[in-house]
Symmetry: D2
Subunit: 350 residues, 4 copies
């Protein structure tokens, strides 16, 4: 598609949170006309003047020519109610695009329901977070192929572009969409399915770094050996664990030339540069759905995902949800061996 | 071996903690003469008058006729120093028996070192805890076969006996040692190796019950749904989780007729009968070595043990040793998405 | 309830598979009149003559006096279609009891749907397998309290009774239902919810034993050390792993006096008595739903269940479902280090 | 250090495998004089003419001026024997550097033993694999600080340099060693300790990607639903799993703008570009020690590492080492429920 046909493209956009506003700036700058709405009118100040800001959904729909393409960038919990408000305003042939974090089964349900009314539905999993405006957004797209093709200039505008990573050896010619950072993955739900697994992997990657750095952090344990008792295994070889390792510098080190280099590691190095002990964080790790859904999909499919689910469970445990299970085990120890929690006893045996 | 030859058997015994004293009572009652020592002389009151109590290791050795068989029931950390004290007092042909919780590699080392001095060494893994005096002790034995045979009356006296469990279909005749609750497992270290794995399994069993009961405990979560935010996945179907389950009664229920019945479950039911919420336990689960060694052996051998090691790691986490790892992950979440720990944000995406 | 009122109780029963037929025999023997149906008429031979066998659902309903109580003991996949056939035959006030392995959310759905027609619904999770006729069945019951009370004689007849396990210290008086082996756990779905978690625990217990026995089985690895190469970590201490352990006898041994004694261990000993190497089993472990649902419930609730889910994933892996994941990792190893699968290379480093 | 003092540096180097030879080329090119030996004399052809190749260890030592610094780049299994051969040839004040994959406890032992003879010892964990010649090598260094400083030009020559990654915000001035890709981590063993954990993390990262891609690969399972039976849980919602996802293209897609971008992902995309199904790999994943040691260190220290150890165990399972455990579970299923492996039964219940 050449620039002049891009310039004729018009995109509706609802939801101008931190991420949505940044996306609109990138899209508008590429020459696509954005017609937008957010309940917070103040957000208008953060958009280029050429973007058409509307004060209601009705106005937004009126200000667009049919067939309309409207991108929703909303918290998963409100998508359905916004769709319900939009539906009576739309015409047959219009298209809604959910760019948030919906569960892929919701996409299947919505696409079927909207199809009955002649409205098209696409799902786009978007990765990039607050860095996306600068780095571009990686987009995983599901829905009808022809609508994907129509919207390709939008996806391309949002994508990081081929230069964002060295080309894979053997690839030739014009960079493929995947090489630019967007991909039509399949029918309705495929985009959010791939995004879901992407986030599931992310949980595993994060936990892998975290566990390794935690081991490094404890490598000085032999310098302060705890007295042995029957309740806690003593450190058998304190002489091996006498290292006060510069964990923050190590995260910086691994960014260059090592096998574990990654964007997540870049972020760790950044955080540790500011505060090597990360004492500002209590360590209660939130989770926002996709990690859970990934494990649930693995279970549905009978596919083992021990690393991804371990990472998820560590998050649950970090929030204290293992307390009763831990009590049960302490109680059992007490019952069979007279073990008090952390109290010595001579010649005890289980 | 008939009763008269049992009556000629003499057993030295060092270490009269709660478990050691109980064992001596069982052995002496079977007709074996016990010659014992403990640094705490007051323990003498808890032994039958026929037991010969000594006030020093020297006295104990002197009060025994060669070849001596001396059972050590001591914390793993002091076994080596007691052996060092005993060695100059012993004669060629004497035998030491370690009934504590030594690592099997220590047994191999000690057996080799003592062999050079003409002293025999046996290792016995003993299960039964504080209940053993009543139920009998399950014994896993390593070391030279002929010494095992000589000491069989002792093992038999300690064992629960064949009646402690229904006979396995197809077994006939005189109950085998295994059917009575003791077994010669192999050469030096084999006893403690089998005991180590026994405890490794025990960790897995305990965690399995604990996790399941914890799920039951949380089954009322839908009654108090938490407001959704971008940081925590909300409960998608609060209508499914509205059960206030009687967890204590359920542990009692499963003891009869169900597939998960076990002695550990008996103990859980006992503890929950006293206190259904187990609020006396902080849930900091100790571990005393064997669970660690089991996982290390699995790793050495290249054998997967995900359940056993997960159980072990849950114990570590229950003591807060995952804190820095959790902080690393919270920090990463902050870095890529501007996620605050537990604070909402609109339309965020990873 | 005294025996004469029990004798007036009538129970319909549909589904006389191995388990259903055995249950009917137990119920009828307790004095409750059973009016039964199974599509396989030959099963009639295995029932007492006093049981009223019917050749159709219609006949069964006709042969019962209202209000009817009909127990379904069917594969989970056909329960809904049998209910659909029964519904037009039933009257307001009749009760259906699902004793199979339904997902608890199905119970909630069915109870609501049937309530609209004035029909009651109860769910009973039944444990005991093919041994239940002899041992009795452990029953976890959900649904309206008054119907539970009405049917209590049936539950009591099926249950193992208080003598099946030693009484928990502190319990007094008439044994409670839980002490007899049945329990009203809560409203619709509560019975199957508790049974689901029961099976989830069972998966964990089974895997714990299996992993431990597998370590024992490999303890002879040092007798046949593999040559070291850059692709496989050699056994660092072959001298530690020289034990040919009698795994079958060990499973027998642990049944008496040890902490890990359980009914599942009894079964392992039985199987290993017949064939110590279990070479008749290919090791493709099936799973039948409850283990999956338990992990999914844990994930829904944000409760960590690493042991239970690890056990589930091991089953998936035993059926080869990890193949592509393994290929991905071999491919990565090849890509970064020129590692061939299992082929040596000098001085390689990751 | 300026270039003229670099030019006076001389480095001995033993072990010119694929990695060693590449490292020598990089070092020599930076102006350090390399005096090398490998048992394979043909390797000489792959080195610059200015490198001094020797035909024996004796010759190598003779061709160096004291105090000598000799880098060993050898398989871990032969390091000790080469050190034993070198020791009588060396003089007090000489230094050995182990750049291979030794366990950090070996470093501690060797450093102590060599110190007694007046010889210094350093350990360097080197990451970069076959790509290091082009990308540079990430180096984690342990041993005496003054020797680290003396050898810094060598480390700097091998390192990727600061340009290999974007600078962390807030860093200023001359790039630190960590920013260039090498770091003095602490006393003897610290280098290999950090490298060990680096590889442990790598195992976790690899498994996270592999599990996620495996889920994507199975997302078409609903297109070929398996008939339900009592032994295998059927796919409850085949309508959700109808995606034939382009897994190879997805791995390419995620390289740009997404949170999971990394060097390992670059390699996956490369491998999948050549063969999307990776059918050339049998999926028997090797492991070469560091992953095991990482988990063992975590266990020693009482630090949970569920993700890293799960990844390790998946490798063990990929090689079939879970077989007996799987048989035990199939046998149990048979015993309690009459379950045949994969064979239907009606109304069965566990």
């Amino acid at each position: 598609m050449n620039q002049s046909s891009i310039n004729q493209l018009q995109l509706g956009f609802i939801g101008l949170g931190r991420m949505g506003a940044a996306m609109v700036r990138r899209i508008q700058q590429a020459g696509v006309s954005c017609v937008v709405y957010d309940q917070n009118a103040a957000i208008r100040q953060q958009l280029p003047g050429s973007v058409i800001f509307n004060s209601s959904l009705e106005e937004l729909v009126k200000n667009m020519k049919a067939p309309r393409h409207i991108w929703l960038m909303l918290p998963a919990a409100v998508v359905d109610s916004v769709i319900a408000q939009l539906k009576p305003l739309l015409e047959k042939g219009d298209t809604l695009i959910d760019g948030g974090n919906s569960h892929f089964t919701e996409d299947i349900r919505r696409a079927n329901a909207l199809k009955a009314e002649g409205i098209h539905y696409m799902d786009v999993g978007v990765s990039g977070g607050v860095w996306g405006e600068e780095r571009g957004y990686c987009q995983m797209i599901g829905g009808p192929k022809d609508h994907y093709e129509y919207l390709e200039p939008v996806f391309r505008a949002l994508a990081p572009g081929a230069d964002a990573a060295p080309r894979t050896e053997g690839n030739k010619g014009e960079p493929s969409p995947a090489e630019q950072g967007y991909l039509h993955c399949g029918p309705s739900g495929a985009g959010h399915f791939v995004k879901m697994v992407h986030n599931g992997i992310e949980y595993g990657l994060m936990a892998a770094y975290a566990e390794g750095l935690n081991i490094l952090k404890h490598a000085d344990q032999g310098l302060n050996p705890v007295a042995a008792d029957a309740e806690t295994a003593p450190l058998e070889h304190p002489e091996y664990y006498q290292y006060k390792l510069p964990v923050g510098e190590i995260s910086e080190l691994w960014r260059r030339g090592s096998v574990v280099g990654s964007w997540l590691l870049d972020l760790i190095a950044q955080e540790m540069h500011q505060s090597p002990d990360l004492e500002n964080y209590a360590g209660r790790i939130s989770d926002s759905g996709e990690g859970r859904w990934t494990s649930t999909a693995a279970i549905d499919l009978g596919v083992p995902a021990p690393v991804l689910t371990s990472a998820l469970y560590s998050r649950f445990a970090s929030r204290g949800n293992d307390l009763f299970a831990d009590r049960v085990q302490s109680a059992m120890r007490h019952a069979f061996g007279g073990h008090k929690e952390k109290a010595a006893d001579q010649g005890e045996s289980e």
